[in-house]
Subunit: 292 residues, 4 copies
């Protein structure tokens, strides 16, 4: 089939390549002309035969909104827009309604895969009407991993991004789990080879996983992670997961702890711990450490 | 080689079978004569040619202590005792010293594998002097999974149980991660097929793992887990992990949250939340729910 | 001075009384004619001499929005609206802009006090331009407690509700602190008189507080809180506090734990703990408890 | 009455003074001869008329153990030892048994008060047989604050230190509550005067407390705590509280979060967050920050 693809960065570029390898035609547009097949959204739309499918793969928020707005002007009834970026699920309903008013279909798709996706395939979670999803199915089939799993029609519009968001929330807590265990093992004197313990866990244990394999890779490159700073960004989905949990009164202690650990990791000094130090000094005369 | 094995319950019985399949001789003793090859520890010891290796696989605590005490009386200098039970790592040093006073070696071994171990092999983490470990190595090799991984000499005496304990702590938080994500997905209306989302995650995602495979199995048996109560025991290692972290001033927020979630799950009603309700009523006249 | 007061429920009714005791004129409107001094917002506005101050004390969200909308139609340039309800601070900026377009001033005010406010005074935190705040100051002075403290101009529009929201977040964690300690003391056999321990803490300790006094009151009414269920509602501010923290990348572990404890307290059974039970059963053959 | 007091440091010295002001005779011993009234425990014991009461106020652990051992040799049946130090409650039972074997009574006493105790009195929580407690009561009455509260017979031997330990656990979470709220308020631009918000909370609010008063003192000395580092020690009781909770399967999320926040505050860099950074880099090619 034919696909229009907007956004050819690290993710989008590799996805174009994987879809083409599966035998489909992809016409890509990017603001960077060095990456693009066409020079404008107008040209992209004109190049596709209707009914068109255009996959948007640009940063969540303003960039996605403006791309969808513009496509709403250019596309025709019966066409379909897929938002494959990291949009918040709450934006999907809005986008679907705006496009539906013009007879254009909408499917949201959460994509996992990172730098491994081109070769191994991308895990896909998508939401929308069955009719619309069916029109994008060949592209989903091209992008997904080769095995039995890796793609799912998660539910109504928004369900794709919601499922991907929860995936990332789970990811946060799993990473935190390994990280906590690693720190504890590294701290104890009688344990002499933490890297080999991690390596051994790759078979026969309850905790074997792909993330564990990656941890072993990382330790093989830098056994005690001496070259790194304990600094971790967070990308939006972790925050949204906790907010969705609060909206739904679902307790999420492990995932939230993992998010907060990242917040703390980015602070030069902790304001709240200054207050703790100040209070201890007030009531107990406990020594404080002054800023140098 | 020849091995004496004390304790032939669910774990010990399967381990005897797996070691035998590898061509070794195992003489097993259990208090239950229906399971045992010999009728006493004395007979077990007498049946083995020195230098002997006796693997203890009985419940942690009093049962392990008394077995080791008795073996200390029966064994000879140069023999080796392996504690493969779920002992706390802090007991290992003590056991090693008690046996060393009689010239008997000691190796501690954490074993993971559960009901899958007989067929797939057991993950093993062991601690002790290299010389002692070497004498048990053929048994370790028989028990471990067939691949490149699954067993590790983790360090000095105690390091084996410590590594297994941390494994279980990580396990707690990973299970909690999936559980939190599952509850959130189940709660949201637009997501219509949570089981299929979990199934799809088995390929291409960051969070694919053996535990995820098991979650899919569980959901295939009971899609919304309607047949279960939200009640989870904890087996010691989770508690010890948090205590070891406290001893070492290592923050462990996700693992501890997972442990506390299990504590809460076992309470008919929460005393602390009664106090919260009482306080809200005191200052705000907020309604309380009375016990029926 | 003259004040229009919209909303004469439990809070608003008592506030009218306290302002009147201070010698001011209050004209109150409520949808319930039994509580009201006038029969419509129109009549309320007509009864006041300009420049008018109208205090809105109705439920946050739709009710507050529609009241402010209607007042925007009825009031004149130079008048002032005070939102004293439990509005989210993010609504304040919007309300201020809507009213400013008509020349009407806006002040937001968080109010703490509950059932104790009429006699002891209400703690007030307000936000807005100094000029607008000055016009409401006599009412603030009438409502606040008699001592040196209890009211504050917290900052720009929204800062009043923000400060009140954080107050409630702190309140959640303080209540949780006492509740956790109480449960632990009640659990331990050697401690024979938990109520008297709490009572004794009211002097000389680091943790003496008004909430502690309330806890003692509650224990005097029901020593082991046997009459209550461990069930706690949450009122919005706790959730918003965590969301504000997430927006600002501030780790809030104790306050968030307190919020999640309330979520859990309201669940008949915990879905996430069902998943934990299911997983334990899958890998270890651990017994599960079936739903009866 | 007459009291022997062992340990005349910051706490013990002030306690001697307060007991003397109440008209009792205190004979104090300290290893530092400049502080001591007598030059040895032997001389202390010889100076007291039987039945003697000797209050031990030395560091928990080895120092307390050796002092009690020595007193066990020197004292006579019918005498009483009070451990007023920060001993772990699990030591009390042991000390009571050791002394009971010689006919000597034992009372444990948790003491709160810090630098404020001399003037305001010390909060006391004690455990032991009623008969033994009665013999120390005049000293308890001298030390406690003047009001109706501030001292309690908490239960059997160990209950005093247990109650004090829980007091400190609650203290950790209350401090954390204020600290989290303070950081959030400081972070938000529309809030212009956080110190004045804290000051205002001292009346009419749900969260007024002595700790809040101390927070205001601290902010008056250093409005934004710019002079401090966010570094907080922990003194044992917080750790023991969490361990006691684990032993009793009581969930303690807010207190534990507060303890972990202190652990984190003392880390130059976070090993666990290095692992998070390493994993993010592995699967997503996310940039890491290298150690400079």
């Amino acid at each position: 089939m034919e696909l229009g693809l907007v956004g050819l960065g690290k993710m989008g570029g590799n996805m174009r390549e994987r879809i083409r390898r599966a035998g489909h035609t992809v016409i890509g547009y990017d603001r960077n002309p060095d990456l693009a097949d066409v020079h404008s959204l107008q040209e992209l739309v004109d190049s596709l035969q209707g009914p068109r499918v255009v996959w948007v793969m640009v940063p969540a928020g303003a960039a996605t909104q403006s791309t969808i707005d513009e496509l709403g002007e250019l596309l025709s009834p019966g066409d379909i827009v897929v938002d494959g970026g990291n949009s918040r699920w709450t934006d999907d309903e809005k986008h679907a309604e705006e496009l539906a008013a013009k007879g254009i279909g909408f499917v949201d798709c959460g994509v996992s895969g990172g730098v491994w996706g081109l070769e191994n395939g991308y895990a896909l979670m998508y939401g929308g009407d069955a009719e619309n999803v069916a029109k994008v199915q060949p592209v989903f089939d091209a992008l997904k991993p080769e095995g039995d799993f890796g793609s799912v029609h998660a539910g109504k519009v928004g369900a794709g991004h919601f499922a991907k968001m929860v995936h990332n929330g789970i990811e946060y807590a799993m990473m935190q789990a390994y990280a906590e265990g690693w720190e504890l093992l590294e701290k104890v004197e009688s344990v002499t080879d933490v890297r080999e313990i991690f390596r051994s866990w790759q078979e026969g244990t309850v905790i074997r996983s792909w993330l564990l394999d990656l941890a072993v890779n990382a330790l093989d490159e830098d056994e005690h992670l001496d070259k790194l700073r304990g600094f971790a960004a967070d990308s939006g989905e972790g925050r949204w997961t906790v907010e969705a949990a609060i909206d739904n009164a679902v307790p999420l202690p492990a995932i939230t702890a993992s998010l907060f650990a990242r917040f703390s990791s980015r602070q030069e000094d902790s304001p709240q711990m200054k207050m703790i130090a100040a209070l201890r000094n007030q009531f107990g005369g406990h020594a404080v450490e002054s800023k140098k």
